[in-house]
């Protein structure tokens, strides 16, 4: 049986791992390559590097980080943040990334998804979607945000579910659903958002934003119907290790790779 994936996400800025709360107040949490090796030993199923500044002069730093990681760590690695062209993607894949996550560039020009998928295959094109609940609407709806690497981000004027469906049609092979409301709060994933996306699309869905306890991961997988869970703070600050999180999930009857 296909197991559910536990994916630590390393937000990288200037070659170092940081993690902000609601995309603000970045704190330093270490060397990305060391952390990648550490998480691999602990049983991480994949890794995500998210380049949170991704200015063009820092692109080279990220490439070097990906290269050093891929030399040492033999589990799938996704790189996201600021990838704007087929050439940007090619460079990351050549450095050793298995997948790339695209967000803003895909919203601004949806045909970018198709060009990327045709060139490299859908399996390595991940839609990173940042969504925020629209207040006072029932049934609940979520709006897509871009430029979330900068403070707060910008509303894209797109419905999250409709955008997810369109992106799959255009060729993405996976969707990371990040709740802006939940990100960094450690109060649990946005389960309604996850259910809405996962129920709508045929590709795997990765839950992101809000993990505080192993119970939150369990809820995302069961109640949120996610295929994988992404988390940062709870792992980076040692609140829970990946191995103890996995043991907990196994006890709850979730198929997990040990």
């Amino acid at each position: 049986m296909l197991t559910k994936r536990i994916i630590p996400c390393l937000d990288v800025k200037g070659g170092r791992v940081v993690k902000g709360v609601k995309f603000r107040d970045h704190r330093d949490a270490g060397d990305p390559v060391e952390l990648a090796a550490f998480y691999n030993e602990q049983g991480a199923d994949e890794l995500v590097f998210y380049d949170i500044t991704a200015s063009s002069d820092e692109r080279g730093i990220m490439q070097a980080v990906v290269e050093r990681t891929a030399n040492q760590v033999f589990i799938p690695l996704t790189v996201g943040g600021g990838l704007r062209s087929v050439e940007d993607i090619r460079r990351m894949l050549e450095a050793g990334a298995d997948k790339v996550s695209i967000n803003t560039a895909a919203v601004l020009d949806p045909s970018f998804i198709t060009r990327a998928a045709e060139r490299f295959g859908s399996q390595c094109i991940v839609l990173g979607m940042d969504a925020k609940c629209i207040p006072g609407v029932y049934p609940p709806r979520w709006e897509v945000f871009t430029h979330t690497g900068a403070d707060g981000g910008r509303a894209a004027g797109l419905d999250a579910v409709a955008w997810a469906l369109q992106a799959v049609e255009l060729g993405v092979g996976e969707i990371v659903v990040n709740s802006i409301d939940a990100d960094g709060t450690q109060a649990g994933y946005d389960l309604e958002l996850l259910r809405a996306i996962s129920g709508a699309v045929t590709v795997p869905v990765v839950a992101s934003g809000g993990a505080g306890t192993p119970e939150d991961l369990y809820q995302a997988l069961v109640s949120g119907k996610a295929d994988a869970v992404l988390a940062a703070s709870i792992f980076h600050y040692g609140t829970y290790s990946i191995s103890e999180t996995k043991e907990y999930l196994v006890k709850q009857g979730i198929p997990i790779r040990i």
């Binding site: 033999f74 050793g96 295959g121 869905v205």
Partner: protein, 218 residues
């Protein structure tokens, strides 16, 4: 007669035809102390001791690249001579007669059978870690526990006409042929280069039997 390994005999030829996972495969081979020779030259392919065909992405594009590089005949001949060959993911699928991917495309036609779309109802691609059930004992599985997890990412799966070639199976809606073997040819649907320590073990096993005693002489 098995030969003693010398440094010059630790070279593994990896075919570079634009496959996305080339770099990870090269890293895995290097990590294990072998010497990857990356090439798209037909002569290098013909003279290789052991070949790895990586692959990820679309079958039709991969076939077009192999044709353009003049690698189709050298690969066919290499396998016909039962020399050690390892196909990974798409590198396994394109050995078959043809694929349903994007209509119907003829492939290398080295293994009779077809490549089919995974059944609807489950998430596609089949992405993540899944168990491989070992159907027979095979040198590729040395030191690999039965039902060990490997990393998969694919939307199509290979179905050989001759079921006895299936040495490893994985469940995802259907029984997928996840490991195939015919003489000194082996192939995996999963990505051993992305499957942690246990994946590296698969490469190590292949390179050991490829470079010392070949399977057929075991």
């Amino acid at each position: 007669m098995p030969k003693m390994l010398k440094d010059g005999h630790k070279v593994i030829t990896i075919i570079d035809y634009g496959a996305g996972n080339l770099r990870s495969v090269v890293n895995a081979v290097t990590k294990l102390g072998f010497q990857p020779k990356i090439t798209n030259n037909p002569d290098d392919v013909s003279s290789a001791r052991a070949l790895i065909l990586p692959g990820v992405g679309a079958a039709a594009d991969a076939m077009a690249s192999l044709k353009k590089l003049g690698l189709v005949s050298p690969i066919r001949r290499f396998i016909a001579e039962d020399r050690p060959f390892f196909g990974i993911c798409l590198g396994l699928q394109i050995l078959f007669s043809g694929t349903e991917e994007g209509g119907w495309h003829e492939c290398l036609d080295i293994i009779p059978g077809r490549v089919r779309k995974l059944p609807a109802g489950l998430k596609i691609p089949h992405m993540g870690w899944n168990q491989v059930r070992q159907k027979i004992s095979h040198p590729l599985f040395d030191g690999v526990p039965n039902e060990a997890n490997f990393y998969f990412v694919h939307s199509y799966y290979a179905e050989p006409d001759d079921k006895s070639l299936v040495v490893g199976e994985t469940e995802y809606g259907v029984s997928i042929c996840s490991v195939i073997a015919r003489g000194n040819l082996v192939g995996t649907q999963f990505h051993p280069e992305r499957s942690g320590e246990i994946g590296l073990k698969i490469y190590d096993n292949f390179m050991k039997f490829a470079l010392t005693a070949r399977l057929s002489s075991l």
